[in-house]
Assembly symmetry: C2
Homo-oligomer: 424 residues x 2
Amino acid sequence: MALSKKPVTGMKDILPKEMAIRDYVSGVIKETYRQFGFTPIETPGVENIENLSSKQGGENEKLIFKILKRGEKLNLETAREEKDLVDGGLRYDLTVPLVRFYSNHSNELPSPFKALQMGNVWRAERPQRGRYRQFMQCDIDIFGEPSNLAEIELILATTLTLGKLGFKNFQVRINDRRILKAMAAYSGFCEDAYDNVFIILDKMDKIGPEGVLEELIHNGFGSENAEKYMTLFREMEEAADGLTYLAEKLGDFLEEEVRENLREIMESVEATKGSFFELVFDPTLVRGMSYYTGPIFEVAMPEFGGSCGGGGRYDKMVGRFTGKDVPACGFSIGFERIILLLMENGFNVPFQSEKTAYLVEKGLPAEELGKVIARAQEERAKGGQVLVVRMNKNKKFQKEQLAKEGYTQFQEFFRDPIKTDPRS
Amino acid sequence: MALSKKPVTGMKDILPKEMAIRDYVSGVIKETYRQFGFTPIETPGVENIENLSSKQGGENEKLIFKILKRGEKLNLETAREEKDLVDGGLRYDLTVPLVRFYSNHSNELPSPFKALQMGNVWRAERPQRGRYRQFMQCDIDIFGEPSNLAEIELILATTLTLGKLGFKNFQVRINDRRILKAMAAYSGFCEDAYDNVFIILDKMDKIGPEGVLEELIHNGFGSENAEKYMTLFREMEEAADGLTYLAEKLGDFLEEEVRENLREIMESVEATKGSFFELVFDPTLVRGMSYYTGPIFEVAMPEFGGSCGGGGRYDKMVGRFTGKDVPACGFSIGFERIILLLMENGFNVPFQSEKTAYLVEKGLPAEELGKVIARAQEERAKGGQVLVVRMNKNKKFQKEQLAKEGYTQFQEFFRDPIKTDPRS
């Protein structure tokens, strides 16, 4: 039987050209975060199915690739449900594995612990253009830092990384889950309904304030509450300073500390950030995951028309594993989106070294071949890149092809030593 | 319910110290092979279950982590066997995925195509010390190069990589599947039994020539054949030149071309290899996989008492996917064993940059914090590594801990500016 040449549905092979860009971007990410004191770590691609199904993953839990039990543990005859058949799953994000990792090893780790994790995750999503079932995630997290130093450093490191990759004129939007909640409380929504309110608010970008108002009412929320809520957003936008307006308007609904914390983050970032991106307070920013407990942020790329990363503070998740909460704050970079943008813009990986090809005629005596290879080894020892390759009959075409791969220098070696001109 | 802190059975979390070594080794590998004209590629962790079960993977096919079908495709009631439940599996090596990749994309790839693939593979082996169910493999392959230029460059690139990582006094053993077969044919073994003979021969290292002889006879092979076979090995060892001895002894059983091909590889490598490793012809070298068709090789590390990599020529595997054979030759580096050896020998990643920690007293006004961060950003822009961290009450202990992480420079910033001595 012939074997299948295609990758499995929804996953993709990565060709040399894209791979060079991916390796370059990974290198910039690792180098930049290293300068901020982050250390790389890794967790397995497979996690216990219980951990993956613990409601930390939201909608992603519906998209798990599940792994069949093996050996005696697998019993087809007594299995009634899916869960009787599986014991593991491919991770759908890096957050659940990271928090498990931290919970398992916190005694061996420094405090604060600044982690960089790059790795593949898998989601059984409906295949669509530019979206794959295996993709790289890149998460940067700080554990054990209760102050906003975590948020400040995360935003600075992440934006510096993006800047080094050539991105500019992007926006970092920032908000705080507690501001979201205070605004909802002030408007008279009942606490149980907050998450539903926020899901609708999250559509502001697409459907505008009228659309949000309409959908709130359509979903059974009181029109008085909904209008009060929307008035807040409108007036804040008109105010000279959104945070000051909110402080006055929300009064006791919003703790002063929350507001000042956010202001400090914004001012500290503003003071050093340079002019290649903008930092804005965006009270409509929701971020999907309900595990966030404090500041949340997102990178908006005008070229992409969407988010290229985001994150926030999640101080209550370690406690799910250990029973003891630990402050945690993280950023997830949209690695695949960054690669896509760079590819679309014809990004070229910076020059590494001259590429030389040695074309060796077939039948060159072994002794002569040894000399050619020795010469290649010398050039490589000096840092050069040398491809030793058999000379094709159509040498001109071969050189054209090699030129497309970036080879600029050619040397030819013939059976007849008189023909060999090492400078050709 | 509390979540599980442990990784799944048999898989492991990778802590910062090991990760730094892994990243360093990956970097050396990528850089060295790049100098030989290899380009990185990547394939998904998941492959079609049919491809994984196609008998290319030998014993590994018994160790597949299988992935449950999803949605409507999964039908528990009608499923009778395991294969009714699964459609994919985690790859157990990089060879099957690589050949699939090449078959799928050969029109878009240069010829010869020199590929470097580093990625995780998974095998549901019985957990044991130092052996994990997820581990990194590193494969280097050349497609479309029929001549021994492929073997020569692979051996030189791989040994150079090992040399750069500090390994020396190791051995590269080389043989050819066709020599193995010629010796078996000469001894009168029947062709169907070759693989069984080779499995026993492969134990030579452990049980010695007497053990091999005994086991051959015990397995039903004729004692005359077995003795003739062992005499070959003994006499070859005593001969001045093993290959010349074999040529004379085996006569027509061994094609001259095979012998000369091997000699050319050895002489070309010998001419440039330097003195940090030894290249030896080893007629007892078998290499497990039956897909090899020509030269085979293996790196033997004295410190490890085992192989640290190996490979060979497999000219018939692309044909399994496309119906058309393409010359192929590859090397697989024992990445995990290399990491283990480096860890055991207390390997330190080469110096990257001075590590400085800024200790910031709690309560430092936002404006002052902004200045501290600005100063850190300046140092980072110059290539330095700066950790900005809150000052603990026990500052001395904190510094000791940071020193363990490699921080050599400290600066302290106090609420009271008079106390701040940036040179402390």
